[in-house]
Symmetry: C3
């Protein structure tokens, strides 16, 4: 296949792309990173527009997509859906239909990114459904900038970073572990990471306290991916068991499946019973091998992970990982939005 075959393709979940397509994405990301460091000015998406629709707020995602378009010679629009009168429930009188909004945005742009988490829709999963619905109507690619289920730009960046740092991923061990924080985070980054790490042949250990189970469909798909790729997938309720001999540790807070029934305060109280779920220097030294730190950020320093690891340039991947968002997403936009290479 050629790069051009990716023109017009949506990226809503990593599962919608073949392994070969994802490998092209990684290769182009690496190439664009090199060209950035060589000081080359690019006009791959000159004068083009990428629309960013943030139903939920963002730091890195917005900054990296917007800087990425600038580096490619184009422009990102930072849109506020709350002023756009979009109807997510599609009753007459309720707002503009998703179909109309999507079709018109496609007339003004070469690509559309959407962030839509579970708290802005009626039920878990509907955010992702709406992205697929937009994909159906859209004449330009729909890019998932984090939905309730998935965060493919993050997980492909995780892969890019790990490949840069430890080489081929087959047989490498990653521990993806719940960690204490009162921040009550969504599932997208974690779920996309395990899915994708398994697809790239890693041994994936998922760990969390009882009561923090993730989406069973995602777990099943991770299992399948591991089988296909020759990797493995285990789930445990013991953090120490998961990180034992791990090459890479990803300590991150997430919410329980009951989050929206029990409310935020109760959720924080529940998390507070597991303050020992923290990636400490002691754990790194005694259990992992070597236990490089991977994290999508923001990091809750002192809760999820100790500063001693976070600030160790030998152990912590996090700033390079954050930077790679930029290059991975440039590659994604360049490929799907018809860039002139």
């Amino acid at each position: 296949m050629s790069w051009n075959d990716l023109e017009g393709k949506d990226l809503i979940s990593v599962k919608d792309w073949t392994k070969e397509e994802l490998d092209i994405l990684l290769r182009v990301a690496g190439d664009l990173k090199s060209r950035y460091y060589s000081g080359e000015e690019l006009d791959i998406l000159e004068n083009d527009t990428f629309m960013m629709l943030f139903f939920n707020s963002s730091t890195r995602t917005r900054q990296s997509f917007e800087a990425g378009m600038s580096q490619l010679g184009g422009h990102s629009q930072f849109l506020a859906p709350e002023t756009m009168r979009i109807s997510l429930d599609r009753e007459p009188g309720g707002g503009e239909s998703i179909k109309d909004t999507t079709k018109v945005m496609g007339r003004y742009s070469e690509g559309i990114g959407v962030r839509l988490l579970e708290d802005k829709v009626d039920y878990y999963g509907q955010g992702t459904e709406i992205l697929y619905e937009m994909g159906k109507y859209s004449t330009v690619p729909i890019i998932n900038m984090a939905s309730d289920i998935y965060h493919p730009c993050q997980s492909m960046t995780d892969i890019m970073t790990m490949q840069e740092k430890v080489g081929a991923l087959r047989g490498k061990k990653i521990a993806v572990t719940w960690a204490y924080s009162p921040w009550v985070r969504s599932w997208g980054s974690i779920q996309s990471n395990i899915l994708t790490s398994a697809l790239f042949g890693m041994d994936v250990n998922l760990a969390h306290p009882e009561g923090y189970e993730l989406d069973p469909d995602v777990l099943d798909l991770t299992e399948e991916n591991a089988k296909k790729s020759g990797g493995s997938f285990t789930v445990t309720n013991e953090m120490d068991e998961a990180i034992k001999e791990a090459d890479i540790v990803y300590p991150r807070n997430w919410m329980s499946p009951d989050r929206y029934e029990i409310g935020r305060e109760k959720e924080i109280e529940m998390a507070g019973k597991h303050k020992d779920w923290k990636y400490t220097k002691k754990r790194q030294e005694e259990l992992t091998d070597p236990g490089y730190l991977l994290h999508c950020m923001p990091v809750d320093r002192g809760n999820e992970v100790e500063d001693e690891i976070m600030d160790d340039p030998e152990l912590s991947f996090v700033y390079d990982q954050a930077e790679n968002r930029l290059h991975l997403q440039k590659a994604l936009m360049a490929l799907t939005m018809g860039g002139s290479f």
Copy 2:
């Protein structure tokens, strides 16, 4: 006259431009559309700035102006006047004067767009007055991005779209009709449409229930325009009468003149008595000829118009019309802001 003569010209109402000037605008819009589809990269307004001052929120207008500047090699600033401390009442101590705000914005940009509807000023018409006041102070063009009275970028786009779709407009019949929706829309798009359609020689039929009369000055001007152009202008309280044999139907909700006395709830209740004011497939088939759908969007599907018409690519102009905002406004900015063609 030459294109350069339009440099520095404001567009606050279509009536401020001669027919010859408007024809140039349409010609350049068509030209820029062709060049866009040919894939040509333009640098007509390279590194230039267009300031967008939205006192009221926007979807299409913001997206299309911003994408338009990107396509021309320049940049749009999306400004939030609520953080700008502008004094609309100009008492000492009340905020920065309109004069100072305007003069300084002109030092940082090549053009300024403003949206200012009736709910942000003291009385209907004051929004437009403020735009003319800005025009007086400004050294760069002031573009009306929708005011309480006018929406010239929309109505010139309507003309562009109709010309593309049905050819010369002289003698063509357009029905501009009130339609039910609880959305309580402003008058600008409708008023600019009838004014401009009459100016281009169309037979304009305006229809609305009693109690939804538009601005009498606009009606008079529409009458005048029709006389000058050889078109016609009629007003009726029967929807069916207006759309009879219409080439084009524009079904759109608008508020009553009493909107700000009676309040939003009462206004919606009043509109609810006219739910039969809807552009239906039945009406299209039985009455119009052929009754193409024109609409500035957003469309209240199921209220203003049935999906069967909205989704019929033969009948519905709306997505192409929305796209033409982009090309029309690029032409407008290129001409008035001193673009290098």
Copy 3:
């Protein structure tokens, strides 16, 4: 020294730069202004990104930095820190650390501007401390876009404007005087002006009613600067005394040191006792020589200064001064962000 030596340098206070460095900044600003008027398109910061972090709102600063980046071929991101979950108090669980936020922003951009006034931090001075802290972590320049203590982009623009208008500043007399307004303004612009005017050898007369004393450290530094440069610095409680024979008058409201103890209403009431502190035509004619108007804007017309002066193109520098923000800041970004000249 060469221009390249300024690459990577922060500008948080004018005192962090040598006089020689500031002179380079002024020279490049003048050069970029000429090139702008000659119609030259620049690609000095092509495809580069400047991040703007406004903890406090802005009019001119945002517009001029954003337009400046556009004119240099790059792009500014207008970021809303309130959606960025930054922890200014840096407790675990409180938000993302300043270190992490800064380091990641530096991966996506070539420079970072920050506005952070006293009302967003715990005490006067902490805003500036946080900028210095960001400077410590950042791999790209940190530009002060107004802090609680300083506003160096404004004060260097003041110098640029005065040099353009009256030539060499040594021995010229500037009166920086408190003026009545209910606007209760911060100290940054005024404090930076006196510091910088003294550094450039001017005779600086500061005047305010009792109770409006500025930061004693800034007064000391102004005194020092005056000594070094051969200028002078006096403080008085009589407006007329200060403006006597002044070449330039800068009449501007500011808050008392008790502002945050006594509250806004009380502060306005207190200011109301000094409504005679106004730069009037009478004062200009009877006292100054010639008393050109300098002001960072927004101007409270009728309170701080009379329209007769404000609107006199011979006397009022304010619109040219506002424009110079653009050129001065382009020079600053071009020099510190590694522009290709």
